[in-house]
Symmetry: C2
Subunit: 115 residues, 2 copies
């Protein structure tokens, strides 16, 4: 699959919302957040899936929009719009962020989030 | 300047629309487009300024929006919304794209466009 094909299929799966997008992650995918702490760098498909599951369990999502993909070479970007409540303290937040994905051999080997 | 400081100042200058953003480019900035041809890779501040001037001279811009910056480490992203007419053939186009900027020593050393 080309980068654009991976990008289109991954984005479609994200929009469907059934978690099928995880099949595009390489077994040794790396997930990078722009913050300090234990979530800053997560390695491996199982750990990244656990990170996603933790986030979904601890936040109530009111809306989630995905714009893209925007492709360049072996990378693509997505623009996310989020409206959610943090269950821990009930704080409701709206935010936008960009996810930058790097593809090799038809799989996502890195995801990097910007905000 | 930190990456976020460069990102905020560059973005503010872009929004002002007077071309002041070019002062944040390194002398040896590289500009990368996701296409084949002479615009695919432009090196050096003067050449990147000439590229921008060419684009502005050959397109009539009806609207230009900038969302961001979205920061991660030494990089930041911007989301552009464009509505323009290509003077060559009169074709009017609306498009969104992402610009990914890499910062070193307080200056932008690379810009990479995704669409």
């Amino acid at each position: 699959m080309t980068t654009r094909e991976v990008a289109e299929a991954f984005t479609a799966a994200l929009r469907e919302g059934h978690g099928e997008e995880t099949r595009f992650w390489s077994d040794d995918v790396v997930s990078l957040e722009a913050m300090e702490g234990p979530m800053a760098r997560i390695e491996g498909r199982a750990a990244v899936e656990a990170k996603s599951a933790w986030w979904m369990a601890n936040h109530e999502v009111h809306s989630f929009t995905v714009e893209g993909p925007f492709v360049h070479g072996n990378q693509f970007g997505l623009r996310f719009g989020l409206d959610f409540t943090r269950k821990e303290d009930g704080a409701r937040m709206t935010m936008a962020e960009i996810g930058l994905y790097t593809v090799a051999d038809g799989a996502i080997i890195e995801e990097r989030f910007f905000y």
